[in-house]
């Protein structure tokens, strides 16, 4: 069989009989891979890799330097904040999702509510912080309204700028996110399961205890994990609300990046970033496992 040179476009990728030939199809993927490499993988490597680099080469000193109380406190606060807003957001979001799922699947209400959830889940950051300031900030609408009725919600301190305030504000985007994540699972519950349960003698309690509960559990806890990761990574909302200090990990990283202390110790910001990435990655892996279970049962 003659081996004529064939036009690239025609035969790219087709190996000759009896031999190997470098497939030029791979060229098609290069732009994407290169782009992602430069703007995602490289920055991540820089950010995280810097934790092992010291003034004199490779070192673990950056990691050990993290054993300071303010650093540990920041991470602890982040965990507490994320867990609290995740649990609250998951529970409340599940209830709201259930109310949506039991309505007309093509109705206007559902469209509006899911669109609203889509916006609000993204709604963090500055806009959200300002919204809450406008509502229950010191000059906020609700604050003033309550003051006129003799109730001072800040009698024991201004909690809005502290952890408890952040939990409240975070639930504003955690609940919609839970709705978006949990709704498909609810839609996957088939009416035949309820009817089968009834025909076999089970009532509402039995249905939730033995059928719907176990089926929705992975989706519920998966959603909670996702909410945790979401809150843990969040920066903008806290930055807009809290102008000074680094009470949570993301604020700490930002301040380390921009402060004089941080510039003197570039490795520190990287070490902090490494810890954050590891925590979020672990949570996301667990989330993916639970998602697998959900899709097997409910799709």
């Amino acid at each position: 069989m003659t081996v004529a040179a064939k036009p690239l476009v025609e035969t790219a990728g087709r190996p000759l009989r009896g031999g190997r030939r470098f497939s030029l199809d791979w060229l098609g993927a290069v732009p994407f891979l290169a782009y992602v490499g430069i703007f995602l993988l490289l920055p991540t490597a820089i950010a995280v890799g810097g934790s092992f680099v010291g003034p004199h080469g490779l070192t673990l000193s950056n990691l050990t330097a993290m054993n300071k109380s303010y650093i540990v406190a920041a991470f602890v606060h982040s965990v507490v904040l994320s867990a609290a807003s995740a649990v609250l957001g998951a529970a409340l979001g599940a209830v709201l999702a259930y109310a949506i799922a039991t309505g007309n699947p093509n109705g206007v209400l559902r469209r509006l509510v899911t669109s609203a959830c889509g916006v609000l889940a993204q709604f963090g950051g500055v806009t959200l912080a300002f919204a809450f300031l406008a509502t229950i900030g010191l000059a906020g609408f609700v604050t003033l309204w309550l003051q006129q009725r003799g109730i001072n919600i800040y009698a024991n301190g201004i909690w809005l700028y502290e952890l408890s305030g952040l939990v409240l504000v975070y639930t504003y985007f955690q609940i919609p996110l839970m709705v978006l994540v949990f709704l498909p699972a609810l839609d996957g519950i088939r009416p035949q399961w309820r009817e089968a349960t009834e025909s076999l003698g089970g009532g509402t309690w039995h249905y939730w205890r033995y059928v719907a509960g176990p089926l929705l559990a992975p989706a519920f806890f998966g959603g909670m994990l996702l909410l945790f990761a979401n809150a843990f990574s969040a920066y903008a909302t806290a930055a807009a609300l809290i102008s000074q200090g680094s009470i949570i990990a993301s604020l700490l990283i930002a301040n380390t990046l921009t402060s004089e202390v941080g510039l003197a110790q570039p490795g520190l910001a990287s070490a902090l970033a490494l810890v954050m990435v590891v925590i979020v990655a672990v949570v996301m892996v667990l989330y993916t496992q639970l998602q697998g279970r959900t899709s097997k049962w409910l799709q």
Partner: protein, 279 residues
């Protein structure tokens, strides 16, 4: 379902929607209220804050910059992702998992971490390429990957790309024709969805712009907010409404679903992939 149970369910739904509706609408209402306050306690409501938006050059510049960034990011995303995804689907199926992983990776890497590593790159960029805020588009494209990948993937899966392209090729079409005139026209709704999502993400981005010292919409709101609360809140509300309208439009391009639908709901699919980075 028995009538009794149906009634209880309806009551439950009404209560839930009222309570949650209040929780979510009150802050937005408060924003409207705040942005229309008069200059003293008893002054009448005014739209002065809203009008000031157009008189604040920084704000206007930031709005335009963000809108431009949104467009650039959407276009760039389409140019990069669509051909790649089609090509991988048809010719490099083994790369599918890799592409999917890479597209979902931004969810696991908090924006705050990404920015730590981007600083040196952007220093280089601002010296050697451009100082313009539009260089943010490079990183925004990466940020929107998770959401847009899901949407485009669903769109591609819904049309049998393999069969269509084989049919076109057998009739003599070259690859550009196959992509441009056969596949893309069948993916209009997915493409539109992906663009709308990108716009929503770009308009809401704060972290990276702030820490790289660029003044996009959210950063501008933040900075103006320190001086003049009313104006910044007015802009914030406007951007919120804009994003909401976009997503409502998006919902009309989804497929009608039955209660036991098998296809992933586009919006919910996007929600499922949501992670950190923008808050």
């Amino acid at each position: 379902m028995s009538r009794d149970r149906r009634l209880k369910l309806q009551v439950f739904r009404v209560v839930v929607f009222l309570v949650f509706g209040a929780f979510f609408l009150v802050p937005i209402g408060a924003m409207f209220e705040f942005s229309t306050r008069g200059s003293t306690d008893n002054a009448p409501r005014t739209l002065a804050a809203w009008q000031t938006i157009f008189q604040t050059p920084d704000l206007v510049a930031a709005i335009l910059a963000s809108l431009a960034l949104a467009v650039i990011t959407s276009v760039g995303m389409l140019l990069l992702l669509v051909p790649t995804m089609i090509w991988v689907r048809l010719r490099l199926p083994r790369l599918n998992r890799v592409v999917e992983f890479l597209c979902l990776l931004p969810l696991t890497i908090p924006a705050i971490v990404l920015v730590a590593g981007l600083a040196p790159e952007y220093r280089w960029l601002s010296i050697n390429v451009s100082e313009s805020i539009f260089t943010l588009a490079f990183v925004y494209l990466v940020l929107v990957l998770p959401y847009t990948y899901r949407t485009l993937h669903t769109g591609l899966a819904a049309i049998d790309v393999k069969t269509l392209s084989e049919a076109a090729r057998s009739l003599g079409a070259g690859w550009p024709v196959v992509m441009g005139r056969i596949i893309v026209p069948n993916m209009w709704s997915a493409l539109l969805n992906a663009c709308l999502l990108s716009v929503a993400v770009v308009l809401g981005e704060f972290t990276i712009a702030n820490l790289l010292n660029y003044e996009n919409l959210q950063v501008a709101i933040y900075l103006v907010g320190k001086a003049n609360g009313g104006v910044s809140i007015a802009v914030a509300v406007a951007s919120l409404m804009f994003a909401f309208i976009l997503l409502v439009i998006l919902s009309f391009f989804g497929r009608p679903r039955s209660r036991v639908a098998r296809q992933p709901d586009e919006l919910a699919g996007f929600g499922r992939q949501l992670g950190g980075g923008l808050r």
